[in-house]
Symmetry: C2
């Protein structure tokens, strides 16, 4: 795997692959070092310790997600269009960096408050984004619903990758660009039709009035 010259990046890349596969605690520094073809001590040298790797991974992920959201927020678009773009952007990110996303999403080191708190803050920030869109574009203002739908949104977008380990060879599907296109379409459709359904509004594509519907 490590073909590049940069040892720090090698460690990071190897770690992402290993942690995505086995979980953070199950991966040892010796295994990382060996596969990265660097000395064990280089991990502490570059990352200050094993947890430093996880920190770097999680920070990288939320920076990438932040960039995606920022680009979309900057242009002023209807909430529905924005959500569509967010889904497309996130699926693209998953497609490109599946392991990174997996690790950042599923690992939650409660014993390292620095990382745990950072991640919590980022999740809350992203949740606030979804909540705002639900309020602006879908007339859903109840905070409890925001939390439920917010989590549903993330789970939906990442659905094929959270449990992805299994499926790779078992469901014989080719994960090409066409798959990701289909995937994006289906997830977008489910979420938008689903959320409109909460407000008893149907056929979002054909709908022409806006914000005139009542809550369920």
């Amino acid at each position: 795997m490590p073909n590049k010259k940069d040892p720090k990046q090698n460690i990071l890349d190897t770690s992402i692959a290993l942690i995505a596969k086995k979980g953070f605690s199950a991966v040892g520094v010796r295994e990382i070092a060996k596969k990265s073809k660097v000395n064990i001590s280089m991990i502490s040298y570059y990352f200050g310790g094993k947890t430093g790797i996880l920190k770097a991974i999680i920070e990288t992920y939320f920076t990438l997600v932040g960039d995606i959201l920022k680009d979309i927020i900057d242009v002023d678009l209807p909430a529905e269009t924005e959500l569509k773009k967010v889904i497309t952007g996130l699926v693209k990110l998953i497609n490109e960096k599946e392991n990174l996303c997996r690790v950042a999403l599923l690992e939650m080191p409660l014993d390292v408050p620095e990382i745990a708190n950072y991640k919590l803050e980022m999740v809350k920030r992203n949740m606030r984004f979804v909540g705002k869109k639900l309020e602006d574009g879908f007339n859903i203002s109840d905070k409890t619903k925001h939390v439920i739908i917010g989590h549903a949104f993330i789970s939906l977008v990442y659905s094929n990758f959270i449990f992805g380990k299994l499926r790779r060879k078992e469901f014989n599907i080719i994960f090409d660009d066409k798959f990701f296109e289909t995937y994006t379409d289906i997830i977008t459709t489910i979420f938008l039709h689903g959320v409109y359904g909460i407000n008893d509004v149907c056929c979002p594509d054909k709908r022409n009035q806006k914000n005139k519907n009542n809550k369920k």
Copy 2:
């Protein structure tokens, strides 16, 4: 935590709580034994080793899910009604045994083929169930879509619990029965409206013809 007399059950209960919180590899047998108030050797004695605990957890979970599905399949109902009942049943299970579900769902010990293969088989079985419902009740026959929507289904149902660690205190929401009722409603609505959306069919509640719509 261990108030009961049965040491085996104590070990299991403690393990479920700990593994749900920190992940299987991050939990040590000494920690389990201490909190269970049993001797360390009792773990090997009752479960044959640490991985035996995980095996027991995962088997318990899929047995419970199997029972839920069986009860629903036995009565002959329309696909939509069946899916509604499945969601209700699963959310109820999550409500009652959140930690068990978390562990069984997220832990995938690839280094223990016996458990990994068992889990894979169970997931495939449940996936086949959803696939059949999509075919029967929603005119969706494409296998790739079955996989995508099947994963989406599971992710949706479990959405508030996969990332639940964080949210507990942070989003100040009371997780009472009313919450789980709202949660079930929202998830059901999103999924059903969402899947009907894939077929360009709107307002599933108001729809009165069946299986007469074309695929997108």
